[in-house]
C-alpha cells in the first residue's frame, strides 16, 4: 500500500494529514499489518486534549494491544466512532476510512518535525531488516 505523499509520519507508525489547522490522525499500513486483525479501538472524546508524544488511545488485535501516540498536540474535534463497530476498517483502509481522530492543532510547527512519506518508507524498510536479522 502506498504512503500518501501529503501525509506526515511518526516513528510509532501514526500518520497525520493536515488541512488548515485540523489534523486527521491514524495508524499506518505497516502498523495495521504488524498488529493483525483489529478488533477493538479506544478513542478520546471530542473536546479531549492530546499532547505530542503521549498516548491518546488504543488499538487492539486479537493478540496484541497497541498504544497510539499523538503526533502533535491539540484538541479533539472529531472521533471516528464508527470504528467501534467496524474496527476492521483500520485493516482495510488504514490511510482513509480507518482514520482515528481529528485534532485542532495547538502548535502546527510540531508537524514539520515528522517524517515525510519517503523518509517513513526508508524507516520501515530498516525496521523490517532489523526484525528479520
Amino acid at each position: 500500500m502506498a504512503y500518501p505523499a501529503n501525509y506526515r509520519y511518526t516513528k510509532e507508525h501514526e500518520w497525520v494529514e493536515v488541512k488548515g489547522d485540523v489534523a486527521a490522525i491514524g495508524i499506518t499500513d505497516y502498523a495495521q499489518h504488524e498488529l493483525g486483525d483489529v478488533v477493538f479501538v479506544e478513542l478520546p472524546k471530542v473536546g479531549a486534549k492530546i499532547e505530542a508524544g503521549k498516548t491518546f488511545g488504543t488499538v487492539e488485535s486479537v493478540k496484541a494491544v497497541s498504544d497510539i501516540y499523538a503526533p502533535a498536540s491539540g484538541e479533539v474535534v472529531e472521533a471516528n466512532d464508527v470504528l467501534h463497530n467496524t474496527p476492521e476498517k483500520i485493516n482495510t483502509d488504514p490511510h482513509g476510512a480507518g482514520w482515528l481522530i481529528k485534532v485542532r492543532l495547538a502548535n502546527p510547527a510540531e508537524i514539520s518535525g515528522l517524517m515525510d512519506a519517503a523518509a517513513y518508507e526508508a524507516y520501515i524498510a530498516s525496521q523490517s531488516k532489523e526484525a528479520s536479522a
Binding site: D37, F40, T58, E60, V62, K63, V65
Partner: protein, 395 residues
C-alpha cells in the same frame, strides 16, 4: 553514561519447519526461546486460522514441545513406579495405546509443568511437555527418578510434531496413513505408516478443544517438510491453512485448557487450578501429595473462573480484577477476544466466594474498571459427533 551489562544474546531455537514458516510469510515471535509462527497473514491470519480449526481443519507445527521417554530397567514395573512418583494422574490406569492429561508437581503441590502421558508399551511411557520448560522438566524427571529402575531419555529433538486439528482432521489424515483412524478414541494413539514413514506415532490429542491428531515424525528438515507438504496437499480439499501460536492460544482458551505460566505455575496448586479430576490422591504417594493433602484441609484462597466482558473492553493477561468497591481481588491469567463466540473472554483467579455464575467482576483495563461476569466454562464445547455407521461397525 555507564553502560549496562547486556545479557548474552542467545540464539533462538528453530524447529525443522522454520524455513517453511518463513517462506509462507508467517509472523514469527520468540516463544519460550523458540522462533515460532504466531500467525500466517498470507492465508488469512489468526482469526481465519481459528475458524478453520473450528469448522474444518488446520495444521500446527508444535515441534517445540518436548518429549521424555521413561522405560523400565531390568526390573519390570520400574517405569510405571517412576511415572507415578513424578506425575499426579494415575498412570496404572493407562492401557497400552492410551494417553492422559497429567502434571508434574513440586513438593509444595504447585506445578513443574503439565504433561500428556502416553503408555507406549508394557514398561514404556512418553511424556509430552511444554517448550519453555523443556530443560527444567528433563532435569526434574532425571533427578526425581534416580531411585527407580528406569531409563530416562530426552527425545525432544528427535521429533517433528504436527497437530492436525479440526472436524475434518480424521478424513484428511486417513488419506496419508494405513492405520484405521476411525477406531482411535480421544486420548488414544496408535502406530502406523504416515506418508510412507513406518511406525509413526499417531495420537488423537490436541490443544484446541476440537477433534484432531498429533503425529510425531523424524525431525530432519527433509522428512519434516515432506510430511508438512503432504498434509497441506491432502487438506486442500478441506481448505486447510497453516495455524500459528496465536490461534493455538485462542482455541485452547475457549476450551479452558491451562497454559503453563498463566493458569498453572510454580505458585499455583492443583486445587486452585481446578484440575482435581486429573489428580489421583488415592493412587498412593507422589511428589506434591502431602502438600496437597494439607492444602485440601486448609481450603483454597483463590479459584480459577471464566469471565465474559459486559462492558466494552478486552481483558488481557495479568490485568487486575476488582470487586464492586474497587478493591483488587484477583488477576486475569489469560484474556482475549473469542473468535468463535465473538465475545471478550478471560480466565482469572478470584476469591472462592466470587465464583458463582453471574458474579460481577471488574477488570482494570488501563484507566478504567470494566465490568465482567463469571460464566460457565469451558466457553466453547465442540458439538457431539454422531458416530458414522461405518466407524461404529469398526469399533
Amino acid at each position: 553514561m555507564e553502560s549496562v551489562t547486556t545479557p548474552p544474546i542467545t540464539e533462538l531455537r528453530k524447529t525443522a519447519l522454520n524455513a517453511v514458516h518463513r517462506r509462507l510469510g508467517a509472523k514469527m515471535v520468540n516463544f519460550g526461546g523458540w522462533d515460532m509462527p504466531v500467525e500466517y497473514p498470507a492465508s488469512g491470519g489468526l482469526v481465519a486460522e481459528h475458524r478453520a480449526v473450528r469448522s474444518s481443519v488446520g495444521v500446527f507445527d508444535v515441534s517445540h514441545m518436548g518429549d521424555i521417554r521413561i522405560r523400565s530397567g531390568p526390573t519390570h514395573g520400574g517405569a510405571l513406579a517412576a511415572v507415578q512418583h513424578v506425575s499426579m494422574n494415575d498412570a496404572s490406569k493407562l492401557a497400552i495405546g492410551q494417553a492422559h492429561y497429567s502434571a508434574m508437581l513440586y513438593p509444595e503441590g504447585t506445578f513443574v509443568d503439565d504433561v500428556i502421558v502416553h503408555r507406549l508399551g508394557e514398561d514404556d511411557y512418553l511424556l509430552v511437555i511444554n517448550a519453555g520448560t523443556r530443560e527444567k522438566d528433563v532435569n526434574w524427571v532425571r533427578e526425581n527418578t534416580k531411585g527407580f529402575d528406569c531409563v530416562v531419555q530426552d527425545l525432544s529433538d528427535a521429533y517433528t510434531q504436527l497437530a492436525i486439528q479440526g472436524p475434518c482432521a480424521q478424513e484428511l489424515l486417513q488419506k496419508l496413513t494405513d492405520a484405521n483412524l476411525a477406531v482411535i478414541k480421544n486420548y488414544w494413539f496408535t502406530h502406523g505408516a504416515v506418508c510412507g514413514l513406518k511406525n509413526t506415532l499417531i495420537a488423537r490429542t490436541g490443544y484446541t478443544g476440537e477433534d484432531g491428531f498429533e503425529i510425531y515424525v523424524p525431525s530432519d528438515a527433509a522428512t519434516s517438510e515432506m510430511v508438512w507438504n503432504k498434509v497441506m496437499e491432502a487438506g486442500a480439499e478441506f481448505g486447510i491453512i497453516p495455524c500459528g501460536l496465536g490461534a493455538r492460544n485462542t482455541l485452547r482458551l475457549e476450551s479452558k485448557m491451562a497454559l503453563y505460566g498463566h493458569e498453572i505455575s510454580d505458585k499455583i496448586n492443583v486445587w486452585e487450578a481446578g484440575l482435581d479430576r486429573y489428580c489421583k490422591m488415592e493412587k498412593g504417594d507422589f511428589i506434591g501429595h502431602a502438600a496437597l493433602e494439607r492444602a485440601k484441609v486448609a481450603g483454597v484462597t483463590r479459584a480459577l473462573v471464566g469471565l465474559e466482558m459486559v462492558d466494552r473492553g478486552i481483558a488481557r493477561d495479568e490485568y487486575c480484577c476488582c470487586n464492586e468497591s474497587g478493591e483488587v481481588i484477583g488477576v486475569v491469567t489469560s484474556g482475549s477476544p473469542s473468535p468463535t463466540l465473538c465475545k471478550n473472554i478471560a480466565l482469572a483467579y478470584v476469591p472462592p466466594t466470587m465464583t458463582a455464575l453471574g458474579t460481577p467482576i471488574y477488570v482494570q483495563i488501563r484507566t478504567q474498571k470494566c465490568k465482567a461476569q463469571v460464566v460457565a466454562t469451558p466457553f466453547y464445547k465442540r458439538p457431539k459427533k454422531t458416530v458414522a455407521p461405518q466407524a461404529a461397525a469398526n469399533v
